[in-house]
Amino acid sequence: MKANNISRLTRIRTRSAWAFLAPMLVVLLVVAGWPLGRTIYFSFTDASLDLISDARWVGVRNYLEYVDFGDGEGRYYGLLADARWWRSVGNTIWFSLVSVSIETVLGLIVALVLNQQFRGRGLVRAAVLIPWAIPTIVSAKMWAWMLHDQFGILNDMLMRVGLISDPVAWTASPDTAMIAVMIVDIWKTTPFMALLILAGLQMVPGDLYEAAKLDGVSATRVFRKITLPLIMPAMLVAVVFRSLDALRIFDIVYVLTPNTDATRTMSVFARENLFDFDKFAYGSAASTLMFLVIALITIVFILASRMDLEGKNS
């Protein structure tokens, strides 16, 4: 009798939970599910932007197609056989790996500093967020000028200090173009990482530190044995957020070095095909693959880091 009651209550609660979730699910379906579905559909057609309603189903041709030249020779075409695409994937992953790693380390340092008691802490906490608050397109343009080889302040400063003797063409040379993009991204998103990690730091109970202090534990040991394990869950979430964002990187590249092989990312590749090249279907295929690549990387990361998404441990 009693068990029956509980299950009835559970049923009612489950039902109302769904009722509350329904509006959000509907909105998600409309603003995220529908466009995603359309994109995936278009990737199997021959759609072009001008003739989007005339799109015809062509199967997986945009992904992979073997064209027989008729003389015994043939060649694979399509996204999966497109060296430019794979270079873009490589660029994106390399960019994400480096920038997210550096942002995490810098963010952690900033968060540790901001977690200390000092005069004017509120002001500093607010000031640190400024790069994050500036729209990316604006900060990218700003950096484009600062990185300019002739008029840029960065070269001017480095030359005055004597670190370099000739101006460096940051955004022009293929060796430094990706570094320039990373610099801007790191500058911009370190505050975001710092903020998320700071939130984690503030969850660490103060008495743990007091106990450690009484026992005379060294500061590095406190950090390794107490702080780091306790903020790890928050940090992993921050890393996933950042990685999702970094893998879609578009605006900084588009402003700084739009069309070069050295920095073309998956998003830039997709846009180029969608709008510039009149290959809407091919661009849709790129967007679809990009979605899959990002999903795959995220799942692998979550599994590898044994992230606790369901809150079982808390």
Binding site: D149, W170, D261, D278
Partner: protein, 421 residues
């Protein structure tokens, strides 16, 4: 929904006719370079005063490649927000279907325009846009420095390279370490396509895609031209030139830091302006050639005004297009912005010749300008151009030799062409 819209528009239209209120709000979009915006606004003010219509300018980024992407988006969405588009000379074949045919609407004046300009905007007999101004680049050079070092104005690329190197070395030795020899548009975008096809064509390397659609770009002359160009980067040209567009190049030249510059006509008015440090020190000439048996090549540039098919004010928009391309306005543009006009008569205008000696001089260059292969490659043009500038950019940034990159380009173009363009 559509029906409701139609009824509302219809009723509104009738109401407007009935009240005699013909004032309309027009929107024109352009990518401003130099003083384009200022002159356009001034001319629009006159138009507004004369007609009672109002015109809003939507301004786009400098890069033509960026503009194209946005325009295509608007047009594909059949947006009625923009009435008049200022379009690059190469876009007509790709965008023809989105614009109204101007032929019947300008039949009375079309004979006054430079024929090559009109031809570039005619697709299958349809006049997609009315030419606003033309473009044919020049070699800007520092006359004072050439004189100082006793050098003559170069006529071949090799001469230019040697002269630039000589003057640059001399200036560096004299303590002027910020001096460079040559700046141009080397960023990976449409501008590089223009620059590189000039180097190649003037060296006997043919066109990116020949007029009949055949692909012969992988030849020794083209490779030699690109190899020479690659030697400029980090030599007579700053390494940053690989990310320079028009205004970056002008910035370096106009602040007195380069002996030579390849740029469009607009830069002349600015470099000769009141506040320009080089205003009395520079002169222009035609671009160099590859040497004996070859001749200089200048890419045909220029901008044209098209009326969107989706515009709700087509009549007023056509009126605006006719106004902006009339004699007076073209004359003002020629004088203030040194843009070559599209009306043949303006080249012979005495006042223009007096105030902007560049313009009448440039008539033969404009007449012989080299078009990009947009007519031959149709809808694939952007991709062709992108493949071409990538091959050039890779060569210049040291990723592969000219021969390797051209061989790859040939394959890429062949693939793009398929059975036919």
């Amino acid at each position: 929904m559509k029906l409701v819209n139609k009824i509302i528009t219809g009723v509104a239209g009738m109401a407007m006719l009935a009240s005699g209120a013909l004032a309309e709000d027009l929107t024109i979009v352009h990518g401003s370079v130099g003083r384009d915006q200022e002159v356009l606004r001034r001319q629009l003010d006159t138009f507004e005063a004369e007609t009672g219509n109002t015109v809003t300018i939507v301004s786009m980024p400098e890069s033509t490649s960026d503009q194209f992407g946005q325009y295509r988006l608007w047009l594909a969405a059949q947006s009625s927000d923009i009435d008049v588009y200022r379009m690059d000379v190469i876009w007509a074949p790709q965008m023809a279907s989105h614009f109204i045919d101007l032929n019947p609407l300008v039949a009375d004046i079309i004979g006054d325009f430079v024929p090559a300009a009109v031809e570039s905007q005619t697709v299958d007999g349809k006049l997609v846009a009315l030419p606003l101004f033309l473009g044919a680049p020049a070699l800007y050079y520092r006359a004072d420095l050439l004189e100082k070092y006793g050098e003559s104005v170069p006529t071949t690329w090799q001469e230019m390279t040697d002269t630039a190197q000589l003057i640059m070395d001399g200036e560096h030795a004299a303590g002027n370490t910020g001096m460079y020899g040559f700046v141009f548009q080397g960023a990976a975008y449409e501008g590089l396509t223009c620059n590189a096809q000039e180097w190649i064509n003037s060296s006997g390397g043919g066109r990116i895609v020949e007029l009949d659609g055949s692909i012969e770009i992988n030849n020794p002359n083209a490779a030699a031209a690109l190899t020479l160009a690659a030697s400029w980067v980090g030599g007579i040209s700053p390494e940053g030139v690989l990310n320079y567009k028009e205004e970056d190049a002008r910035g370096v030249f106009q602040s007195g830091n380069s002996v030579f510059m390849r740029n469009w006509n607009y830069a002349y008015a600015l470099a000769a302006g009141e506040d320009s440090p080089v205003r009395d020190l520079f002169a222009v000439t035609t671009l160099p050639s590859g040497g004996e048996g070859t001749s200089s090549a200048a890419t045909l540039g220029g901008w044209n005004l098209g009326v969107s098919r989706y515009s709700e004010h087509q009549e007023a928009a056509v009126e605006l297009v006719r106004f902006l391309t009339n004699y007076e306005n073209q004359k003002e543009r020629a004088i203030v912005t040194s843009r070559p006009p599209t009306l043949t008569a303006v080249y012979d205008d005495v006042e223009v010749a007096e105030q902007q000696a560049f313009i009448p001089l440039w008539k033969p260059v404009v007449d012989n300008a080299l078009p990009r292969p947009s007519a031959a490659t149709l809808r694939s043009y952007n991709e062709v151009s992108s493949a071409f500038w990538t091959a050039v950019h890779n060569t210049m940034s040291g990723q592969g030799t000219a021969e390797e990159n051209l061989a790859q380009l040939e394959q890429e173009l062949t693939r793009l062409r398929g059975a036919r363009w």
